[in-house]
Symmetry: C2
Subunit: 207 residues, 2 copies
């Protein structure tokens, strides 16, 4: 994976990929930068620059080969290497994330959910089982999983985070709107939905 | 709002803000860039650069004034100008977003949810009412709201999007993993959770 790609470039590539996937399903062989540009309202020069950056060249008047471009993006962004993760918290957000179709398509496999609520434990959502949080250490070890997606309420986030660390989790994708304290060898990625919205407002001057 | 700030800068500023809010609640008066840097695992030079960019200067050995810095970030990122929005789809994701505490703190006010499911219509989640989607035009007009957060299933996303446009919605924050087709005057912001995860994997070389 090219870690030199910026987050914005990665975001655009995943959007191009969404188009390529849909075109591929419809057996459309070629796509021009103009079509991508118009569908996503991204400047055409930017589209061409992004694709040139990943060594894809379009043919004049024909455009890019859909299947090839789709494959290249899969390689560049490492979609084919499936990463297994647990969702911690089987509330609305955890349940929503466990059923988010795009995760699966882009190589993120939610293996199971964990909660402390007896009404939820043992049930299945989106074909994934909800386990008692106290089983995490054992299941993480058996399934060799070290990525957790944290969706608990804010007030218990740090406590649950400490427990995840104890269970051998090394990477935490944190949706709780708080700053987590972890040892140096455990990496936290704070999801920032509101940051995304603020950017939306800034770009289009939404008042 | 400074539209010149990059998405990554905005993301970092919202994270600084989260710390400042917590420190402010605990009546801590000052914070150093070293403390912020260590809590967020962001390079200290980057923290200082970001804060200098928004014209905040720390005092040697004392750091930044928490209340002042908090106010400056609120101004720069326009948190104080409340933006009202509707959530379309009262499923797990819509319900989760309608209760996301950080939205409210950062000036995004979810006014109501809309759905087509009779079992949901009329109910209340997170103190917000769920209306029949066919009431949207009327309610959007009365409440003067033109922002919608789209959380419907993929297969109906375009159809619902067309209806939102018909109802006068001008800004759509799209959580459905598909590309929406809208008129030129309606702006779509595609939320890209998987892009964020891919970036996480890239930065820490998660296999």
């Amino acid at each position: 994976m090219k870690t030199t790609l910026s987050q914005r470039t990665i975001n655009r590539l995943t959007q191009y990929y969404t188009i390529l996937r849909e075109f591929s399903k419809k057996n459309i062989d070629n796509v021009t930068s103009a079509v991508i540009s118009s569908m996503l309202e991204i400047d055409e020069t930017q589209v061409r620059k992004d694709l040139k950056n990943i060594n894809c060249k379009g043919k004049c008047k024909v455009g890019y080969d859909v299947k090839n471009l789709k494959n290249v993006i899969e390689d560049v962004l490492d979609y084919k290497v499936v990463k297994k993760a647990f969702v911690i918290g089987a509330g609305n957000l955890g349940t929503a994330l466990s059923g988010y179709s795009k995760f699966c398509e882009f190589g993120l496999d939610i293996a199971a959910l964990f909660d402390i609520d007896n009404d939820k434990i043992g049930k299945t959502v989106n074909n994934k089982k909800i386990y008692n949080l106290n089983k995490l250490k054992e299941i993480a070890k058996t399934q060799n999983i070290n990525i957790a997606i944290l969706t608990t309420p804010n007030k218990v986030a740090q406590e649950v985070c400490d427990y995840l660390v104890e269970c051998g989790i090394k990477y935490i994708w944190n949706f709780a709107p708080t700053i987590l304290n972890t040892p140096q060898n455990v990496k936290v990625w704070n999801e920032n939905l509101i940051g995304s919205f603020i950017q939306f407002c800034a770009i289009y001057d939404i008042k």
